[in-house]
Amino acid sequence: MKRLGLLAGLCVMVIASATPKKQADPQTFSVSGDLPKPVTLSVTDLDKLPQQTATVQEQDGTTTKYSGVLLRAILENAGAPTGNSLRGKALASYILASARDGYQVVFTLAELEPAFGNEQILVVDKVGNKPLFGYQGPFRILCPADKAGARSLRMLSTIQFVSLRK
């Protein structure tokens, strides 16, 4: 019986390792964490939000025009504290953006807020009015004011809001 139990256990392990991990839908990205209104957004959903464009000069000298939605607006829609609500404990929070390939970048709400950093960081889904494709897309975080490109995360998969002081 003990042996049977061991075998059963092994079977469970084999099944578990053979079962592919559930992958997030690559055509959407999720906004979740310590938020009252977590949401999953598609290109169509993003298109319904106020659009902004940014033309950036890449490090290699090429220029590219992107369009999308302010990250702040996406977080605000999901219930993150913005404007006058962004004070006290709310300032002890961060946004963890993750890509399909495992790359991660952290932002804070304050750097997006007009009263603080006022950085126009975008979630873009179009390049030159065409869908963002290939290794860049379908969603990318774009930090137009950055000199280096490392925070402009490609293949955006999830945005997680973490509040450290609740």
Partner: protein
Amino acid sequence: MKLLLLACALGGGWAGAAASRQAFFDWGLPSWLPRPYVPLDNPMTAQKVTLGRYLFYDTRVSLNGKESCATCHRQALAFTDGRKVSVGTTGQLHPRNAMSLVNVAYASVLTWSDPKLTRLEDQMLVPMYGAHPVELGLKLGDRFLLEHDPTYKPLFSAAFPGASDPYSMGNVVKALACFERTIISKNTPYDRYHYGGDDHAVSEAAKRGEELFFSEPCKCFQCHSGFNFSDATRSARSHDGDLPFHNTGLYNVVGPFSYPAPNRGTFEHTGLTTDMGAFKTPTLRNVAVTGPNMHDGSIATLGEVLDHYSSGGRTIATGPNAGVGSKNPNKDPRIAGFTLTAQGKSDMIAFLETLTDEDLLHDPKLSDPWLNHGK
């Protein structure tokens, strides 16, 4: 007197028109590609490009009269020579693999390891006059001996109008540099896909390979970056970044120097131990036709290159260069290795093959003008 003044004014007008003609150069670039950086003392002109093309392919400029720049930089091979290492006019082997001249106009540094050579006008003195090894075999003080050649007379006059000594070696160098700066890759299948929006220009395998190439685990794009797939890139609109030399863990030989002589990378120029084994990131444009690969041509195929990087360095089991490259103390930390399946490897190679610019390999404007002209 009035007539003389008029003649002077007209002369000035003609000279001015000639100057403005020379000031404009049509690069013929697509909108996505920035103009290359060009040194102020050697502006591009069509006349210098034409002259430079004749010089580039002229074997009479070498010591033995058999080699030209094109001997080691063949158009069909994306301006490389297909050899593991190149051979000079005296038969001496060069210690390094011939670099591609494709997009050399965008290169922020020009040789495998010398951070000081940043201008073509300076770099090409090495193959012309270098003695260790001898390449073209010229001697300092040599004059251009073909000034009476009927082909060259009008070409030099047009390229350097009004010059007191149009046939100076300085002008030869300037013309060669202008021609080499026109060797620009801009119409690969990848370009048509990525910049042109043609979704069918590359295969699905290549698209998967592209995603791997630009992925966080593989990190290939961190050194092979931007439109030129090299961090050794500058343009008229961008500044030089960090020095683009990297130790990729190709060797780790026993002894005080972890890379075998005479190829110890940037260390040979700076003397800094941190520069041991650091070599320039070459462009990957046309990489499918520019093998053998690496600074010493020691990796034959793209598949083996991927094996080297996925292992985080090369292990050589026996011989004088035996060692575990992944343990090289000066290895760039980004060369950390990654898992690459057989499918992933095949996809990555399919992606790299989309960087071959067939137009460039067969562009008549870059071909040997002497074939139809005669010497």
